[in-house]
Amino acid sequence: MSEPLLEVVGVSKQFPGVRALDDVSFTLRPGEVHALVGENGAGKSTLIKVITGVYRPDGGEVRFLGRPAAFAGPLDAQHAGISTIYQEVNLVPLMSVARNLFLGREPRNRLGLVDVGRMHREAAEILAGYGITSDVRRPLGLMALGAQQMVALARAVMVDARVVVMDEPTSSLEPREVETLFGVIRRLHEGGVGIVYVSHRLDELYRICDSVTVLRDGRLVHSGALAGLDRVALVSHMLGRPVAEVRREGFTSFAGSHDTATDRPPVLRAEGLSSRYRLAGVSFAVRPGEVVGLGGLLGAGRSETIKAVAGALPLDSGTVEIDGKPLRRPTPVHALRAGIAVQPEDRKAEGLALGLSVRENIALAVLPRLSAAGLVSEKKIDRIVETFMTRLRIKAAGPHQRVGDLSGGNQQKVLLARLLATGPKVLLLDEPTRGIDVGAKAEVQALIDELAAEGLGVVLVSSDAEELIEGSDRVVVLRDGAVVGELRGDQVTTEQLMNTIAVAAS
């Protein structure tokens, strides 16, 4: 076997109150695609940050190309040959796509000035290879998350790296983009580059990874080739539960079709939602106990539809009715009061108050109910917070921990807890399982079912086609901000979904 590219030897990292990494070791060889898996909060992202010098380990050592490496930061690591795509898209939204792509290594002319023309040309060429054809001079922030992720990928691969680290690169990608990504990985793999690949989507791992390292609660629990390890065994490692138990419970938790009487009046009815440049008359209805999926490609207007219903997108025309009563004014406050709870796509930017505690975040939307005459009742808050922390199995040092210090999955659960605490009639979920581990994902999916069974209307948006199909009773397909089709009953299959999209496109 060839010399290892990267070795992590007995690394530990302690955060206030949490031991994020405890004596973790792992090895990466040239041309190897190494999966790093574990539940939310297992320490994957922390390990990556230790490798690239974002964090300093409390103990242990990182060795690169046979020599001890203590990188001063990502730049240092990048110079040495370790390129990273971080879990949350980490680009500068206000800067243009091209400038983001080339930041720190802009092409320069003889005077040492940035050669803007060449930069734009090259950027357009490079991104075309990733299926992105939009204007590279536009601010990056105007692009969809998936497109941004592709830019980050292109950026990481552009340098001649020896090691490429990818922390959940597919969490905001479309199937089509995932294929592009895999093509890139294959190319790198053939070029002898070592790849560390973090993902919660197990089928992906089996498609592209050679070996796997499993972390649980900051400790190494398994490391070895992936080929010999079946899914159930892998999951049992991750969850720390016996194989038999995992096999019995399975890991897709949607119950299938729900009991929705078609004659019941809809709990949510959206009529002709229009907003310049974004939505062109979207209409649909959701009955109590029904899960309606919104399908479509990136940029089809799914998130916009959700926001419009939640009153967070100024509308030119259109109405939203709850239980037959139209919303008086389409603002988040009124929508919430009427019983609409929304889980936004980007939990960091729009979902959570990261600086506040788990407790404050869960209670935020229901403060009026937990208070009398404007004074909050700590007791009532404690009760509701405890209920939901237990029900959603939120893993935190306690209700007073900063949400920003939780792992991605647990952050998502806190967000869901806040929605449920409002006792909504309609749930709007935009990518509810993005970045969530198998265990939590199953829990969230089961939860969606359970809530629907309790009579809630659910609107579900997911880039994970499987999840969308399995989870929804009906799928409304969008394109360019308009409804182009609807799948019901037997039609709710992946093929039908793809067909509808493709037909509309042709």
Binding site: V54, P74, T84, V92, L94, L103, L113, V114, G131
Partner: protein
């Protein structure tokens, strides 16, 4: 794999793109547009406003604030703020006047070096101690003024400019426009190159746009921050020096509130106070706009001092509200 956008989307894209471009142009040049309107109105209303002399006066008066605003633009784009510039401006003037006894080179070198050093210290504290720029430079405001008072015998001593070439630089004119104006124009051109066309400039935008992302993308945050504050300090010192040359002495009773004027000019010019976006062209327009408004008030010649402040304040609010409205249009237009 061919579920790519069709021609319908393309058409929609171009339509929205066109609107966006137009709106973006107006927005980016918003301050310039308002400036043009104000100048035209002024020229129609007052004979004495459209004289060549008056243009010269506006430009030369705008020179020191423009330099300060130039540095402030870098600072604000990088996501920071510099409240110390007013004090550094006075300090620079006093030092320049004092050093002019050793010749014109010293008269420029000393204030630039001293104020640059002051900026360096602020930059170091901001970068390494990770304190909020607002508070660090607020302390800088006090510290620099204290230093200036200490150097001038509690402000009692006014050093007179000794070097004639230095004085001549401050008061001399070419084609009726003072020399400092040419210097400032040249520095703005350099500033534009620095901001738009160098890696440092890119880093400034990046750390202002998202410090976390910039760090993970390998931008050297600290080095960039430090440079930005040094630049701001140096430019404030230079502004002080050319003003000393123009006034012929190191006046100690200057500069209070100057930082707020500079911030106002930069923001009027369309730069986001939260960092990450802004142009130097806008800053020039912002500086000139504030000067022209003062000038117009003087042209009227009968506005009481109380009303002058009311007008200035309302005007700032008005322009910024207009800016914000345009920005929002742009955001809507581009999705």
């Amino acid at each position: 794999m061919t579920l790519v956008a069709d021609s319908a989307t393309d058409r929609a894209e171009t339509a929205s793109q066109r609107t966006e471009r137009i709106v973006e142009l107006v927005q980016r040049q918003g301050a310039l547009a308002v400036l043009a309107i104000v100048v035209v109105v002024g020229a129609v209303a007052f004979d004495s406003f459209r004289t060549y002399d008056n243009v010269g006066t506006v430009l030369i008066s705008a020179a020191p604030p423009a330099l300060i605003a130039l540095g402030m633009t870098f600072v604000i784009v990088s996501g920071g703020i510099d409240l110390s510039v007013g004090s550094l401006y006075v300090l620079g003037g006093v030092l320049a006047a004092w050093a002019s006894q050793y010749g014109v080179v010293a008269a420029f070198a000393l204030p630039l070096a001293a104020c640059g050093l002051f900026g360096l210290v602020q930059g170091l504290v901001i970068a390494y101690a990770r304190l909020a720029p607002f508070i660090v430079t607020l302390a800088g405001l006090l510290g620099a003024r204290g230093l200036m008072l200490a150097l001038s015998g509690e402000g009692r001593e006014t050093y007179l400019v000794q070097a004639d070439p230095f004085k001549h630089f401050g008061t001399g004119e070419l084609l009726g426009i003072g020399y400092p104006v040419y210097l400032v124009a040249g520095l703005f051109a350099l500033g534009m190159l620095l901001l738009y066309r160098t890696r440092l400039g890119q880093s400034v935008y990046a750390i202002g746009g998202s410090e976390d992302a910039a760090r993970l993308m390998g931008v050297r945050i600290r080095a960039t921050q430090i440079r930005v504050y040094v630049l701001s300090g140096v430019l404030a010192g230079l502004a002080g020096a050319i003003n000393a040359a123009r006034l012929g002495s190191g006046v100690t009773v200057l500069g209070t509130g100057m930082e707020l004027d500079a911030i106002a000019a930069v923001v009027i010019g369309g730069t986001l106070l939260t960092g990450g976006a802004g142009t130097l062209g806008g800053t020039i327009a912002g500086v000139l706009l504030l000067q022209v408004i003062q000038n117009l008030i003087n042209q009227v010649g009968t506005v009481t001092s109380a009303w002058q402040t009311v007008i200035s304040g309302s005007f700032i609010a008005l322009v910024v509200v207009a800016q914000t409205y345009l920005t929002r249009l742009r955001r809507v237009a581009s999705g």
